[in-house]
């Protein structure tokens, strides 16, 4: 008999918190198969979608069984998951039969869910998004032409965070949608996740002794994002996240990074709902990165 985790009906970064709270409760109990019930999902963000893969992977690692998943009833949501290649990637995590990758025509997906396992995947992702990034960033977000290359650089750096620091595989995806309720504009949301050692684990050997008992996931995030520190003593390391932060700020967007039981956001925006720092969240392994890039408006 499986233990059931109800996937929140709105599966965004807030829904992800609900999801992992349920996951932590279920996997604390006796080891058993887990079923993720996504039948009632009526909206999913890129962050929520790869969050479902991350949660599934953790369930697998904790129980020793590949979890099952119930597909959403909602036709639009189902279509979106298909367009984002969820069912193609999900058999790596869930107890599912392999599904071939779709042949993608015109799509609102800037980047379908792509596993990141090595630097070859980063090269492939950068190559893959070039044309779509030009179309979406220039025509939908009205960004200046250099933004297409700047987006490729950003994408490369966030994906490398997995390879260089996570000691585990991860996923990336990006999509454009209208952020109607809060902003009334199109945005691109980019999400990158892994379930590896996280920021606290990555920076611990180099920095924990200096900070003693105050050392935590929140402090590790702060040292990495705000001060450019990394697990390496080499001064050339640690610049990637700071560069991402500067670029997102130039685009008047938001950058949030969750790791362990904390989430840091910088920059944040009035229209957004990311707090500068949240601690005491549900513990979850690895790092989960969220970038929101809003459409440019003239007076900004």
């Amino acid at each position: 008999m499986s233990r059931v985790i109800e996937v929140p009906d709105v599966l965004d970064h807030k829904g992800f918190e609900v999801l992992i709270r349920a996951l932590n409760q279920v996997t604390q109990e006796e080891a058993a198969r887990v079923l993720f019930n996504a039948k009632h999902v009526r909206w999913t963000s890129p962050y929520g979608l790869i969050g479902l893969l991350a949660a599934g992977r953790v369930a697998y690692e904790r129980t020793g069984f590949a979890p099952s998943i119930e597909a959403p009833d909602n036709r639009e949501v189902r279509g979106y998951w298909e367009r984002m290649d969820f069912w193609h990637v999900a058999p790596d995590v869930y107890d599912l039969e392999p599904v071939p990758a779709r042949v993608h025509g015109a799509s609102d997906a800037l980047l379908e869910i792509t596993p990141i396992r090595s630097h070859h995947d980063v090269h492939a992702v950068v190559e893959k998004v070039r044309e779509r990034a030009a179309t979406i960033l220039l025509n939908k977000l009205h960004y200046a032409r250099p933004s297409v290359i700047q987006f490729s650089v950003l994408l490369s750096e966030v994906c490398q965070n997995i390879i260089e620091h996570a000691e585990a595989d991860g996923w990336v995806c990006a999509q454009t949608y209208n952020y109607r309720e809060r902003l009334g504009r199109d945005v691109v949301q980019l999400a990158v996740m892994d379930v590896g050692i996280g920021f606290e684990g990555s920076l611990s050997a180099e920095h924990s002794r200096r900070h003693g008992e105050r050392w935590s996931a929140g402090m590790a995030l702060e040292r990495a994002l705000l001060h450019g520190e990394s697990r390496h003593r080499d001064p050339g390391r640690g610049q990637g996240l700071q560069a991402i932060r500067r670029q997102v700020d130039r685009w008047h967007g938001e950058l949030g990074i969750r790791s362990g039981d904390a989430m840091i956001a910088s920059p944040t925006q009035e229209w957004g709902d990311l707090a500068h720092m949240r601690t005491g969240l549900e513990n979850f392994p690895g790092a989960q990165i969220l970038v929101v890039m809003p459409a440019h408006v003239e007076n900004e």
Partner: protein, 213 residues
């Protein structure tokens, strides 16, 4: 301006094409740098290598650190009376500048660059006064302290220290009393037949450098 003769310390020169449209990831950067270091090791004790960014569409911060900053760092750190290695980055467009500049600044380094239209500029950690002086040497090709200090309204001592410091940072080359721009040095070395022709970090077989690492 005085025109000193070309000394026997004229460097060997090489042009390295990068054969990578996307210079992304630290892994790729490391492979590219190792190939270039291999190329430099085959040149003489004094060398000037031009890295052509003309075909590079994207360079990220990690790759800029591995390729640009670490090559310059090694050239600056390897202080020896017998050998001097210089690098010039050519075809550097605006979209390359931010990662290269950031990578160099984090290590307190600077590098000589040339834009797509051939305009010389410095990237990295450099004071405005040093940049003006460097541009004056580039414009002249080569020049002596006696000419440069008054032309820029500087004290001779300050100007000399700044010029020598730029030589130590491998942004200029000193030959006797004259300070040579790296672009002038390259042209002169080419005329003298010191060139190794256009070469690459490795065979342009289309495989990522990682595959050849």
């Amino acid at each position: 301006m005085e025109t000193p003769g070309i000394s026997s310390s004229m460097p060997d020169i090489a042009v390295a094409s990068l054969y990578q449209r996307n210079l992304v990831t630290r892994h790729t950067g490391r492979a590219v740098r190792l190939s270039i270091e291999g190329l430099v090791s085959e040149l003489g004790a004094t060398s000037l290598t031009v890295l052509d960014f003309g075909d590079v569409a994207v360079i990220d911060f990690s790759c800029a650190d591995e390729v640009v900053a670490k090559l310059v760092l090694r050239a600056v750190d390897e202080v020896s009376a017998e050998s001097e290695h210089f690098f010039v980055f050519k075809g550097v467009a605006q979209h390359h500048v931010d990662p290269m500049d950031s990578a160099l600044k984090r290590r307190g380094l600077a590098a000589a660059a040339e834009g797509p239209e051939g305009e010389p500029f410095l990237i990295g950690d450099i004071e405005p006064v040093a940049s003006r002086l460097w541009l004056a040497v580039c414009e002249a090709g080569h020049a002596c302290l006696d000419d440069l200090a008054p032309a820029l309204g500087m004290e001779q001592g300050d100007c000399g220290r700044l010029l020598d410091r730029m030589c130590a940072r491998r942004l200029l080359r000193r030959d006797g009393q004259a300070y040579h721009s790296l672009f002038y040095t390259f042209a002169e070395a080419e005329r003298a037949g010191n060139g190794r022709g256009t070469t690459g970090p490795d065979a342009p077989d289309g495989a990522p450098p990682s595959a050849r690492e």
